[in-house]
Amino acid sequence: MKVEVEKIGEFLWEIPRSGRMRVPGRIYADGESMRFLLKESGTKQWDALTQVRNVACLPGIVGASMAMADIHPGYGFPIGGVGAFDPGEGVVSIAGVGFDINCGVRSMLVDVTKERIELNRERVAEELFNSVPAGIGSTGTLRLSVREIDRVLVEGASFALDRGYGVEEDLEYIEEGGTVAGADPSTVSPRAKERQRRQVGTLGSGNHYLEVQYVEEIFDEEAASAFGLLPGGIVVSIHTGSRALGHQIGTDYQSVLRKASAKYGIPVTESELMAAPINSPEGKRYIAAVRAGINCAFANRQAISGLVRDVFKRLFRLDDGQIRTLYEVGHNNLKLETHDTAEGRRNLLVHRKGATRAFAAGRMEVPVRYRRVGQPVLVGGTMGTSSFILVGTERGMAETFGSAVHGAGRMKSRKKALREYRGEEVIRDLAGSGILVRTRSMKGAAEEAPGAYKDVDRVVAIMEGAGVNRRVARLRPMICVKG
């Protein structure tokens, strides 16, 4: 059934409440993006607007079922979806977190000139490619026992730090300090732990990447200065998540939450939107398991950041003080947060599926160094287009529970990308634009071709135009390492 929308702002559209919807749907889009979404609604087997509407039917949802400007179809929730739930009446949903729990981005500032990277581009690419395990079935340098995995699930980034990956200061610039409380390893299956024993410190495959970028343009001098971003400055970004452990947690809890949906009489508009009341035993166990998955992703990125740090120290004779973590933030997450709402200040369980937390200036969760300007938001582009660093705004806090886009957003299916692009050609074209790609999978390169994605400049311009996020800097890729 085709979804009806109303334009309520220059870049904001509403699916009015109707039927079983408990709140309206709100989508950040420009006219062209909305035309594309409407064209898919009612004609495609799965479409993002229907998913926004379905999420609006879940019990205890507060405000609106939202989608950021990188919206595209997911499973249950749309990618770019944000849903906040009342802890008393609300539910927790697997589809709002996804199977790559706390997939996210770490960006590091490296004190080396763009010219030195250009002169050593091949060598840097080769060293990174050889030093950071990536690709299907790749294993990390860490070989952990199940007992040690339990520590990973509780300690997060600190575990990797204790093993010699990275520096203490990194933790201050990771969301939650790199360790979320409330993780319970007993809620994670032995199989999930077994699968992760050799995967801590691995990049994975698909859209995960490791990029060396330079600051191409600065839009907000004050925020850029607070973040330490300078024109031409080098940034290294790592995009990965909780690997097999996160996948297995999602898999294991599908049957738990499916049974819970029936047990608690939760109306399920679509089968992957299975859910459990937040306060139910099933809901509490799932949340504790997700938190363990969140910590696993923190540990994974910390370990990789240590490998990256070692490469740059070795190649350019840098010391640890010349490599600083700008920030790390997830975009497949479930967080208990405090927000000011029409009903006053409330604790809410916020699902962000392919959406990034984007807190404004003044929030205690933002590192002291950035608190007067707001939290850095790391938005990955494509292999051939820019990435962005944004910052949260007060309006974003009020409208989106402090959320932002997470990337450009796919426009073409993987099948379509494979029909239209060849990996070797994509890599050759990018080399012609000064972007060196190292990958183990030509199929992956074709699927991730820049043309398969929306125009990231337009996506972030929509969010800025809506006043929800503000652009701080645009980063241009120089080297891209993929699994």
């Binding site: 087997q45 499973y75 898999t251 993987r414 099948k415």
Partner: protein
């Protein structure tokens, strides 16, 4: 659709799978092959190892999702690329279906160049098992890529 077969379906971020055949077992096998085709180039590949898998106690759609997810976990733990599947038994009714399967694989270390993509999980999104208007069994779901 011919007697038995499989295909992948367009999905912007992930991928839809569909398998069909003359029985639920054939539809399950074909759906599994559709998933393997995302993960490994099976063309001319011969299985070197056999792995047995038994699961049960689910409705038919639940059994499909669990079957596919078991294959993903199993492949990861065994560090193996699966290239063939044979369901030896699929029987039951209502909420209580069971299956036994034999899956043929190649150690990933021996077929790195054949590896294509990682599938994270089989989801309930678009999941179904049933007969189509021609009486064929059709199974499918969306997998997270």
């Amino acid at each position: 659709m011919t007697g038995r077969g499989h295909e992948t379906l367009e999905h912007t971020a992930d991928m839809g799978l569909r398998g069909w055949g003359g029985s639920p077992a054939e539809a399950f096998e074909e759906t599994a092959l559709a998933m393997f085709d995302l993960m490994v180039d099976r063309h001319g590949a011969a299985a070197e190892t056999d792995h047995r898998l038994s699961i049960g106690g689910r409705d038919l759609t639940g059994l499909l999702i669990e079957f596919l997810n078991e294959l993903l976990s199993f492949a990861d733990i065994e560090d193996t690329a699966f290239v063939s599947v044979r369901i030896e038994r699929l029987e039951g009714g209502g909420e209580e279906w069971d299956l036994d399967a034999v899956i043929g694989g190649i150690p990933r270390g021996k077929c790195r160049k054949r590896l294509l993509s990682e599938v994270k999980a089989a989801t309930w999104y678009g999941a179904s098992v049933g007969r189509d208007s021609d009486g064929r069994w059709v199974a499918g779901c969306v997998v997270d890529m």
